[in-house]
Symmetry: C2
Subunit: 212 residues, 2 copies
């Protein structure tokens, strides 16, 4: 099996899941934790080397406070949950803003947990313009990608988005220029292993050209 | 009808179309001209203000010479064809390279043809890194998008890709961060108006948040 080296996960549909299940919107986020651990375990099993979760963005923090507190809590819990696994964790986002949870400061440089293993990146209070604006500080042109804030996050081979939307929503624009996108209509809290496996099956039959 | 202001077209599948029809690969490109004009006319009819075609990239020019000459010719013909319409044309790409066709020099700044109308951008010898590297020259940080080479090309609302691939392949990475993607499995030379209309129908039911 030809597996992607790096998978991006856009775990969308938590609020719609909550409404569909008779709950208020903010109740959907903590249902994303189990799917996140499940995806991590599948990456371990299949030998996928890097995994990036789209946590929340600076734009998202403009939503109602109840929602903001709920998705922030879910991200903290998710990172702490993964820190009990064998993984190499990095939290990437604007940590100079009050919207960045202090609980995640220990993760703003990549750190090994357990015996190490899958590199897991968590985008938290992420903003694509913030990410790439550091180009400006560069004197030399020869390493464009090496000059962005998320330079420790590699090119993404496959992006899987739950919740049916077909867009990147600002997810790592430079690492995504050649990514293949796979959309799953179900909401993220309704994650199943079969959905993930189908995405990998689909990826195997893609003709990867990197723009060539 | 809520129509997108700006549509990006990735007209892929010309080579596969040629092979499927018993022709050599380079014979597929000129079959893309009629679909291009058809899309332009539909944009006029629906009041879509801006249209960007993905012509070819710097990466594409590394393909066999017969193919390169054929897709370059098709791009020249397409731009000249559109210059006989009421349109405001811009060709965007690295024109300092020998791979940029001299026939298209007159279009490297936007120019009005006929009575003007739809803004049509044609990416020719385009390279996303070339496009955004000019960030580096900026002193001020406050207008990131305004500093890229393709700054006269606005945010893309809807990207329609023919030929079944689900990827951007380096298409305007900064203007595409919030775009909705619609994939059509048929090859570009097999374009039909119905495919385009379905994409617009689908766009209408998308919930546009621009990352919020």
């Amino acid at each position: 099996m030809r597996v992607p080296k790096h998978i991006g996960i856009i775990p969308d549909g938590n609020r719609r899941w909550a409404l569909t299940n008779g709950l208020t919107k903010e109740k959907g986020y903590d249902r994303g934790l189990d799917p996140g651990l499940h995806v991590f375990k599948l990456c371990e099993r299949y030998g996928i080397k890097e995994l990036t979760f789209y946590g929340f963005t600076v734009d998202n923090t403009k939503r109602p406070k109840f929602q903001r507190l709920a998705f922030t809590r879910a991200c903290i819990d998710a990172v702490e949950m993964l820190s009990r696994e064998n993984a190499e964790l990095l939290v990437m986002g604007n940590y100079e803003s009050p919207m960045f949870p202090k609980e995640l400061f220990p993760y703003i440089e990549r750190k090994k947990f357990g015996s190490g293993g899958v590199k897991v990146n968590f985008l938290v209070n992420y903003d694509w313009e913030w990410d790439i604006e550091s180009y400006l500080k560069m004197e030399e042109k020869n390493d464009l990608i090496g000059s962005i804030k998320s330079k420790d996050i590699s090119r993404v081979d496959l992006i899987i988005r739950w919740g049916g939307r077909r867009r990147l929503s600002g997810f790592l624009p430079l690492q995504s220029v050649y990514s293949d996108f796979y959309i799953i209509d179900e909401f993220w809290p309704d994650f199943t292993e079969e959905q993930f496996n189908k995405a990998l099956d689909w990826y195997q039959i893609q003709d990867i050209t990197l723009g060539g």
